[in-house]
Symmetry: C3
């Protein structure tokens, strides 16, 4: 499988033992994408002249000659498969550290039901997606027909800045449950709802949302164990400066095994994200034609601005 | 309605009183085109976060906060509606002067019948359209199947240069009337015909054409009151350096109220302009790939060259 | 007929006597492609204002004026029709020398049967096509489904470098004939086969291939007169740096007049080249995005490298 990531061509394949491998998708001989070749055991064979590469990216066979020159190799990227996602490290392999992978255990745990995920290919910079996820005030305008019927802007947001994470929290106290929650939760009265959106540097965003009987939990203590819980995990992965693969998925701890609920949730999320795509691509086009001069910030941008500061700090640290 | 004019994104909408408004089509917050939002009374609401702008381009509402920062505004363009056209001023608003709008009163007068107009989007610089309108010698080659059956090149053209206008005049004396004129004019003998093409800086071209009984008027006195008259009004409006919206329309003072004549005229004009589009876009493509070096002028280019000089003078004056 | 060659717009037409003419495809007046005009006798008339050009590229008529300015002309390219191909000289006309045209007499000789040719438009630099033709080791990977079933890499190649030509020779000794040769040649036992690929500077490649009874000829003496012979003549013609018209054709001295064999051969060659197109365009895309740094050569590249050296020498000589 071929994919351009951070402007580099990457080919992904699986070894005979099932382990995933990521190599530079460009033969070191005549530059053909290796993704046009075929997997032979643990090796990838170039589709032009038959050179073969092992998972370390080393050329181990050249038709017509015995000697393999030492520079006959392609880049191999550290790759870890965890929580049903593949995590690739595009930087210096020596600095790869799998402790940087977020703990998205909900996607691989029997007490959580995984909603089918998918990915979108968006014509925008990845940061615009993070901005979008951290700013739920756009629901009332962009998602009027899907999510945004309730005006939630009367409930204030709180922004927490940690070293490598920004958190946006909003509690909606003592209100009727939205339709889906009401149907599945059988609440007798009003509910307290929460949206806890956390972005980890550089651009991994987890949303914890849920609802419980009004008054049954203490917002000051964070997300409660009571009630219904949803996890939305989001991993925008840059293709180029202005295009991004947006991988996402959802997990929940209610209506376990109920395929209909899963399908409904998937359909709702897909429709919502399709609405965002239109906005984000139009925004990117305008930013490309007319760079940022003259733009202003508003109060609701606080979490997004905090993430951009965190990111700018991390990018600057990498330049040293 | 969104339109790019002179490389700037413009959004057009109407106030509750029907007046037309032109604003910068880019929200000052996160750059979404405002044309993706909606009109609420006299205001335009952004489709991403709900900011609202008045006809002056000032942001008058930001959801989630009371204070509006003073730089929360977008550009507002002076706009006048006259002769059934919208006239926008893209330069310094302080210099907008509606006396520069040509007097195209024929489009809004009971004694003139307006032929349905339309616009074409052409992949060429606006000056190529002016060249084309001022040079009717191409009829014999480009419009062989529509207008160009008669060879009119035996009749000389006259070029007049005024301060902000160039005029090309051709009289075709004592010849049979072309079919349409003959049918509608019931001429008993030959006719005298005229083509008076006037381009006002920067690129507004009006064509006065018509026919009268041969010998019944004096060409030296300009267009006569006798006979049949047509007005062709042309306003190429640059989108970018190499693309142009070409707005045009026609009025006449004969066959008043005759819809069939209007439809015929519209169809003929549309076919003719479609033939020009092919030429102008091929010409632009070649000029883009191979800039002007090596090109020569011929005698018939005199009016077009005069317009380019007028335009160059005006552009230079603007740079000061 | 319009064609861009070496980044220049060229128009081709035939005089009344059938002779082919190549002119610059851009009118010297207002830059319209002359290929949009029409041929009038031996002249090409521009489709915009009717200027007419003779085969020497001189403007010989300008509507509306008698005087033709001396710089009213377009470039005329030396053009020779030989061996059923048109040979154009894009450089200084004074240096055109038809002795540089290769002697591809097989295409115009009664003892050789010409297989219908065609051309492909490829999105790659012309040198990648030469590399491909000189390297038959890719048959086992790219043309597995058409030509490449036999592994011929066990037979070594020989590279000869002459002043303006590079030759790659491979003999496959004492093996069963491939299906087509067997069917048409009625060989009783094994055969000796040869592939003699010769590239003349800058990029003209002729392939002489054939088969004869094993042991009936002496490989040291070059291609034998015995047996069956095929000529594959290849003239990649650059459109731009990254696109090429690839003209090719085949001739043979067996199954004369047998249309079925011609059709089979044509179909086989077309399928094979279609497989190459996919490879070459993917290769070009990668080379455009990621220039050549880090690429290595292998033993089988020797002929291709020799051609590139010859070409670099000739290009350098032209710069002086």
């Amino acid at each position: 499988m071929a994919r351009t990531l951070l402007c580099e061509p990457v080919v992904l394949f699986r070894r005979e033992d099932g382990g995933a491998v990521a190599l530079e998708d460009r033969c070191c001989h005549r530059a053909l994408p290796l993704s046009m070749g075929k997997v032979i055991g643990d090796r990838l064979q170039c589709g032009y002249h038959g050179l073969e590469f092992n998972p370390a990216g080393e050329c181990v066979k050249i038709p017509g000659q015995d000697m393999i020159p030492p520079d006959a190799k392609v880049k191999s990227y550290p790759l870890v498969e965890r929580w049903k996602w593949l995590w690739i490290w595009m930087g210096d392999p020596a600095l790869a550290d799998d402790r940087l992978i977020p703990n998205w255990w909900w996607f691989d745990h029997p007490e959580w039901e995984l909603v089918k995920g998918k990915y979108l290919k968006l014509g925008c910079n990845y940061q615009l997606i993070t901005d979008n996820l951290l700013d739920l005030s756009h629901l009332a305008y962009v998602h009027l027909n899907t999510l945004g019927t309730t005006d939630i802007s009367e409930f204030p947001i709180k922004t927490d800045r940690e070293k490598d994470m920004v958190r946006m929290t909003r509690w909606i106290i003592d209100r009727p449950a939205p339709p889906m929650f009401q149907t599945l939760g059988n609440f007798e009265g009003t509910v307290d709802r929460w949206q806890i959106v956390e972005t980890f540097s550089p651009c991994l965003t987890q949303i914890r949302a849920g609802a419980c009987d009004a008054g049954s939990c203490n917002p000051d203590l964070g997300e409660p164990g009571e009630g219904m819980h949803i996890r939305s995990l989001n991993a925008p992965t840059p293709e180029t400066e202005t295009s991004t693969y947006y991988f996402f998925g959802h997990a929940r701890d209610f209506a376990m095994g109920n395929k209909e609920v899963s399908d409904d949730l998937f359909r709702m999320v897909s429709q919502t994200f399709d609405e965002d795509v239109v906005i984000l691509e139009a925004q990117q086009k305008m930013l490309t034609d007319w760079p940022e001069n003259g733009l202003i910030d508003i109060n609701l941008d606080a979490p997004g601005i905090a993430v951009r500061r965190m990111l700018a700090r991390d990018i600057e640290a990498e330049q040293v």
